[in-house]
Symmetry: D2
Subunit: 284 residues, 4 copies
């Protein structure tokens, strides 16, 4: 299908849906799917629209440019994406490979419209996996005082590769503020706990010691606040008293894989909108 | 809020959303929530729209009547409901009372906008519960050849009470065809299995014998086909080898209560549309 | 069934199960169910044994007394309970009644072997429910400086009624230290969040603001540390961006009811053993 | 750890646990974990015992042989397995590779103590995956009248490789009766529905047409009855009206992977005992 995804948010006001839908209909676009959400507390309107452009009576370019008048009159922020597409994605790893493998597997299967441009590791453990998958692997040392330099190298790679999405697939480094800000809304992390419980290091050990009966994983956007960004997806799994911290680690991997894959999927399908510190996720 | 819910389905065609949303905007209605679904296999369009009518520039009546032109031009079936409202509901029971109690409890708490006009039992076991809740109880004998007569009496009650929804809350009688047809789309049943597994009698015994590891309950619209109508909601619960059929019955009650309450909620909020033998459920 | 439940914990050592099981067999008791757990980190052994005493060749009393020698030789702590029994239980409430109703309903249905000796409220909102159920209701003022006195009155009631279990069914008061200590291991609370996230007041508001995608409830033993005691059971439910704090409150009620009922059930069946700050729960 | 797993079933009778535990203690074995289940309806006893043999005062061989007297006196069937071990496993596939990948991934990670001796396909689609993993791949044609011959070839491979477990990882062939009987209790299948619903071909299409709100996958032992053998594990996932059969297939893959991995894990840890058409699964 030739098409467009429109994501838009603006102050809530009278007749928004009518005006957007009419713009599409007037240009002979076919509205395939419309999801909207009004946050009444904030008087904000959010929508995601999928449009079939096969019979559009103008060019896709003109359609997109023509929207500016409407968008501005709504005081909106908006974004069009042309379908089909693949989101250019970098995956950052340390040693652990289960999240990386999950992403590769779902990509190869066509479950996620992404193109993995590079795998970047502060260890070289995952090099072989990258090579088997035919994806460039960059080993960037980040120990001690190499850290700042390391993140600058990563930034260069992301720019060179025109990366739109960076996935922290169990990447065991805290991102510097400037990095979080530069790539705001474009970095997804998987944290191995049911946030906001067990922020920081060794969450499975923390979970074991607290004696929780469910463990979890949280996929979220990265912000300057550690493990504090907008949550896209969470998964949990039941555990029992006889499970050791090692068992929790094993069982938690399944939550991590599922939550991360699902979070990435929502993002690359443009189904998420960040609103304050919360993520609107239009389901699919 | 003064408002309207519009449910509509029609052949899929160009510009439906634009036309509906514009109709609302043109009359100064405020679109609160729009859920739509296009079944591409069938080329059918379905939508549910919630409209704030506070600032409507015509009367609600004129707004509803004025829609006829648009509705007809779309070859649509549609339905308006005025908010706030309470759906007049009858609950049919036999002996078991947990589903009845759940409905009463959620109604009293204001979770579900329903008014229970009567509780009807082919046993009088639940009479006391009805009296405590201040709801008329009708004991209608249905054993042996009293069955046909019994269902006629129920029909009379439903008509007299202007009932819009009939809930079979563990009502242990198979409805006659004429009843299913007369009240098509207006009778909700809870079946104590994960349909389509274990249709008919003693599903927990069947589940035990099959050795399933998850048991369930299914809330569905009643049709002439036993346990075969459109499914609104399903719930499951994990079981183990040491659970007896009696345990499954106990554990299953929780699934039944949750699935039935959720199914009723979807229905009374006009969030369901029956399409062939499937139920579209716009989430809330 | 005439029977006994034995709960025992002791330092891990050679041959414990053999010695316990032999003691039972030697006295012609019939071992119905044996659950054991060895915490290797702590070298501690825990077990729960269910014994059919129908054919016991000594009196139950002698059987219990005779165990002292074995128990002492294992340096064990142990407890026998005679079956069938009903655990004498007090329920503490404030205004909210859904947890109270759930307990009453499951008790009446015979799901939980408890006898509710009294319902105690710092508001009188639940008085009518208590009266309908034929259970004494005590309204104890606890506002301002009446709090300490109030808890002393509660203690008196618990002692007079020979209460074994106190359930905080959405009781909106923090228990004083002396109360927690006196009734240690005998007070169960339901907290309306997925602990350890959102400790303290307004957890649903906290959950909303953090934008979690799953909300939960936690049933735990009460200790001096607020919401910090051993966790018995946790439940979660998926939520979405459009759910308001009010929706979370509604959805959370289902988690609370389920987790509390399940936690009480585990406790009254003597399936829990507190070990440090964790609860061992032998499943049923 | 040097150890043994004992699986045993016998008619229920007085003192079984005492006798087994005493046998272990008398030989200075250390009982690590004991799981037992008495099926009262059938008067049958089942147990799984894990024994640390480090301090055994006889050889492991003598310990195992010495058990014969006790086992026979209980009219038991029993089986000892020496720890650590890896179960020799063959994986049968057609084209679909997600279940195969999952098994390989979990094996490499050390989650499952198995050694994959061969991958056998009636298509050669998975050949590359096998080669990357360094596992022999056998392409065996089974179309048309090659089927019977094909299964004989598979039998030969299983015998030559001393395979203990055969996993049907989305293997699209119905096994002949003689094969099911010869390898009874040693063949595990993953069926892509929540059995017993949607037996046979195209279960996701069936599920779509029935309009279920949860789809599932079932891991079970293979018997002569199609999709009718003892169930080890089941997983479900929520679906909505807008999910196409293609979506169900995608979402179902996650259920299949999880249920199959979990089922295999239970089997290779000797945590399953088949009893009539049900599988006892001692949890871990």
């Amino acid at each position: 299908m030739q098409g467009l995804i429109l994501k838009i948010d603006c102050p809530d006001q009278h007749g928004i849906v009518a005006r957007i839908a009419s713009y599409i209909a007037d240009h002979e676009g076919n509205l395939i799917e419309l999801s909207q959400f009004s946050d009444r507390a904030d008087s904000k309107f959010f929508a995601r629209v999928e449009i079939d452009t096969t019979n559009l009576k103008v060019s896709v370019e003109d359609f997109i440019n023509g929207f500016i008048t409407l968008g501005n009159s709504l005081s909106a922020k908006w974004h069009f994406r042309t379908l089909p597409y693949k989101m250019r994605t970098a995956v950052l790893v340390t040693k652990t490979d289960h999240c990386l493998n999950e992403i590769l597997w779902r990509t190869q299967l066509g479950e996620m419209p992404i193109e993995i441009t590079s795998i970047i590791g502060n260890r070289d453990t995952c090099k072989q996996i990258a090579q088997n998958a035919g994806i460039p692997f960059h080993h960037i040392e980040m120990d001690g005082d190499q850290k700042e330099e390391g993140f600058k190298k990563i930034r260069s790679i992301l720019h060179e590769d025109k990366v739109e999405l960076t996935v922290l697939a169990r990447f065991m480094q805290i991102l510097p503020d400037w990095f979080c800000q530069e790539f705001s809304g474009k970095v997804i992390n998987i944290h191995h706990s049911f946030l906001p419980a067990f922020i920081g290091a060794n969450p499975y050990r923390q979970a074991y010691e607290r004696g929780v009966k469910l463990i979890g994983a949280t996929c979220h956007y990265v912000t300057s606040e550690l493990d504090g960004g907008p949550i896209i997806e969470q998964e949990v799994k039941r555990v029992q008293h006889f499970h050791t911290p090692q068992d929790l680690l094993r069982l938690g991997r399944d939550c991590e894989r599922t939550a991360l894959a699902s979070g990435i999927r929502h993002h690359v399908h443009d189904r998420t909108i960040i609103h304050n510190n919360r993520a609107i996720v239009f389901p699919d």
